[in-house]
């Protein structure tokens, strides 16, 4: 199982805070996962998830490029941070 979480503007625009997907070989990288998510809701998700500045994290660590996903991983998508 992949545990996928969304935060802030991304969460609101998708209307979704979390999602669980069965892990399989077609979801073995974060780029592959993101492409599958973009296909949801007739492309409505693509608009949100393909924004340039979207940040991706695997198991609560930000990843810069593509990253391998394993069964059980927690993947997050969120906008640039604005705390402090």
């Amino acid at each position: 199982m992949l545990h996928i979480v969304f935060f802030a503007r991304v969460k609101e625009q998708l209307g979704c805070a979390k999602l669980e997907l069965e892990w399989d070989e077609t979801l073995a990288s974060i780029d592959a996962l993101q492409e599958q998510l973009c296909a949801r809701e007739n492309g409505a998700w693509r608009e949100v998830l393909s924004e340039d500045n979207i940040i991706r994290a695997v198991n609560q660590a930000v990843v810069a490029g593509d990253a391998v996903l394993c069964d059980g991983d927690e993947i997050a998508f969120f906008p640039p941070v604005t705390g402090g």
Partner: protein, 170 residues
Amino acid sequence: MTSSNATHSASGEVVRCQVDIQESDFDIASLQAWLLSGSAGEGAIATFTGYVRVDKGSANFQCMELEHYPGMTQDSIGAIVNKAAERWPIITARVVHRVGRLYPGDQIVWVGVSSAHRGAAFSACEYIMDYLKAEAPLWKKEYSAEGECWVDAKESDSKRADRWAGDSTD
């Protein structure tokens, strides 16, 4: 949600540090007292407090809501504190960041660092704030008479963090 930690400072000493993410307000005097070990080894404490600010131009601002990524927020701030401790000889460090609904004038964040000397305390405190702003997964949404609006990230915030990359310790 508290993350306590003991890491090693640039001076080789163990650094006592704690990161709290909480809805409730905080008391700066208690936080600063926590930084003191009782051994009188600290000569210097530098602190930063961030407040909900009302811009002169935005009279319609009502409040803000702070969202965060539970778990990752503490860990990412803890990692920033550890990096500061590797770079400067700090003795103790403490970070508190509030989440949830906050109103004008409310305290948002507190960072405090103790050290034998003031240069290390100032630098580490500012370093922690700069990276917290640039990296910790927290998001602000503003509510005003016109509606609600996610705050946009500022490029200046990532630049302030970047400047530490090429900087010598002092």
